[in-house]
């Protein structure tokens, strides 16, 4: 199987794309990364592969598209069995999916609120974000990874968004480590993995991206 069989429509700064890349790297799958210019004009392939949302990531496997990052990671896990990203027991799988769903619903939006607001509204946004981090720490407990001893599904769903944390910290004037030390330790643990270090962008570059995004969207 060659890299042409697996194509990822991608954007370097998207935490949702990072999930898919890490999953593919963990499974040792060769893939072709096709960068989409989300501001300049979406490619024909993106528009035809994801007509409903026209968003990245899209995984195109042997010409057939899979959309929505959490669904794509599930697909990658089911299509290439080893190493498994989800646990084997139905109850443990349901718990992992529940945590991933919580992260999907809450984390990125809570972070976005920080750089999209100012003054009192921003203080509230920072507070809300910290509440989400505390819930993540509850999920993590004293384990090395969300799934237990090994890096798995929930870790993959979450780690990409942490590359945006530095931007949130600068805009919101707070430190994640002060409020969620266990989560900070988990971030460092994940960054030791080759697959993660390869995919996660430099937080400095993410910060610059957010500054430009703010300008473009008229949030000053």
């Amino acid at each position: 199987m060659s890299a042409e069989d697996v194509v990822l429509l991608d954007c370097w700064v998207s935490p949702f794309c990072m999930r898919v890349k890490i999953a593919l790297e963990e499974k040792g799958i060769q893939y072709e990364e096709r960068a989409e210019d989300l501001f300049g004009g979406k490619s024909e392939l993106l528009l035809t592969s994801n007509p409903i949302y026209t968003k990245v990531p899209v995984l195109v496997h042997k010409g057939k598209p899979v959309c929505e990052s959490s669904i794509i990671v599930g697909y990658v896990d089911e299509t290439w069995a080893s190493p498994p990203l989800l646990p084997s027991s139905p109850y443990a799988r349901a718990q992992a999916k529940f945590q991933a769903d919580y992260i999907d619903k809450k984390l990125f939006d809570a972070g976005s609120s920080i750089w999209r607001t100012k003054g009192e509204a921003q203080e509230v946004a920072v507070k809300d974000f910290i509440e989400v981090l505390k819930q993540l720490e509850k999920f993590l407990g004293d384990k090395d990874f969300f799934g237990g001893d090994s890096f798995g599904f929930v870790d993959i769903i979450t780690i990409g968004i942490t590359s945006w944390f530095s931007a949130y910290e600068i805009f919101g004037n707070f430190k994640v480590e002060d409020h969620a030390p266990k989560l900070s330790a988990w971030i460092n643990r994940c960054m030791q993995r080759k697959t993660v270090a390869k995919v996660i962008p430099d937080p400095e570059k993410v910060y610059e991206f957010v500054i430009n995004l703010k300008k473009m969207m008229g949030f000053e």
Binding site: I52, H61, K64, V66, C67, E68, I71, I72, G74, Y75, E78, T79, P90, Y91, R93, A94, K97, F98, D101, Y102, Q135
Partner: protein, 219 residues
């Protein structure tokens, strides 16, 4: 040891209805516990501390929350009968995508539909019908989204049906007029006992929607 299955639910909730359908399809003996979502029980708060929402499936004392996750859990544990998801990983991803679409789009647009008026409502009606059209195209010539039998997407979508009729009433439009194939699919679903027994009475859902509108000051 016999399995102990409890469903914490609220009668008009599409999210609860879909679990009722799945449990019925698979012939799973269970206890149904009605929750008052305006006055939540200690059991609900204990079983779903993160979201404090129904439905919650409690299997031998262990809770599973979020309806699409609970649907998959039911499918995996009771895999002897009426499979909801196909076995092929690509088709599974497609089924999950469309179920997610139903919940992301239909439910949110529907909420706008009964809660707004004028221009806003018209825009919501247009989008709603557009989404029905998209689903109709996805269904194609198949009797059900799952093929010959009810599948994951069928169970997810039909669970909203009583609310579709509420949207039609408040928005003064007809889904059947624009999308007869969709209604034909609805009728096929309603012929299944697991579906017809799990949906609440239409009149009761209208009355509840009227109550909600009053509660939120929408007239």
């Amino acid at each position: 040891m016999a399995d102990e299955v409890v469903l914490l639910d609220f009668w008009p909730s599409p999210f609860g209805i879909r679990l009722r359908i799945a449990l019925a399809e698979k012939g799973i003996v269970h206890e149904y516990k009605e929750e008052d979502v305006w006055n939540k029980s200690p059991l609900l708060l204990q079983m779903n501390p993160v979201h404090k929402k129904i439905p919650v499936l409690i299997h031998n004392g262990k809770p599973v929350s979020e309806s699409l996750i609970a649907l998959q859990y039911i499918d995996e544990v009771w895999n002897h009968k009426a499979p909801l998801l196909p076995s092929d990983s690509y088709l599974r991803a497609q089924a999950r995508f469309w179920a997610d679409f139903v919940d992301k789009k239909i439910f949110e647009i529907g909420r706008q539909l009964w809660a707004t008026k004028g221009e806003e409502q018209n825009a919501a009606i247009k989008e709603f019908l557009n989404c029905i059209g998209v689903l109709e195209r996805e269904l194609g010539d198949k009797p059900f989204f799952g093929g010959d039998t009810l599948g994951f997407v069928d169970v997810t979508l039909i669970s909203h049906y009583r609310w579709f009729l509420v949207y039609e009433k408040f928005g003064n439009f007809s889904v059947e007029a624009e999308h007869p194939e969709f209604i034909a699919w609805v009728k096929r679903c309603m012929e299944k006992e697991s579906v017809s027994k799990s949906l609440p009475e239409q009149e009761k859902v209208y009355d509840y929607a009227m109550l909600l509108r009053k509660k939120f000051g929408i007239e």
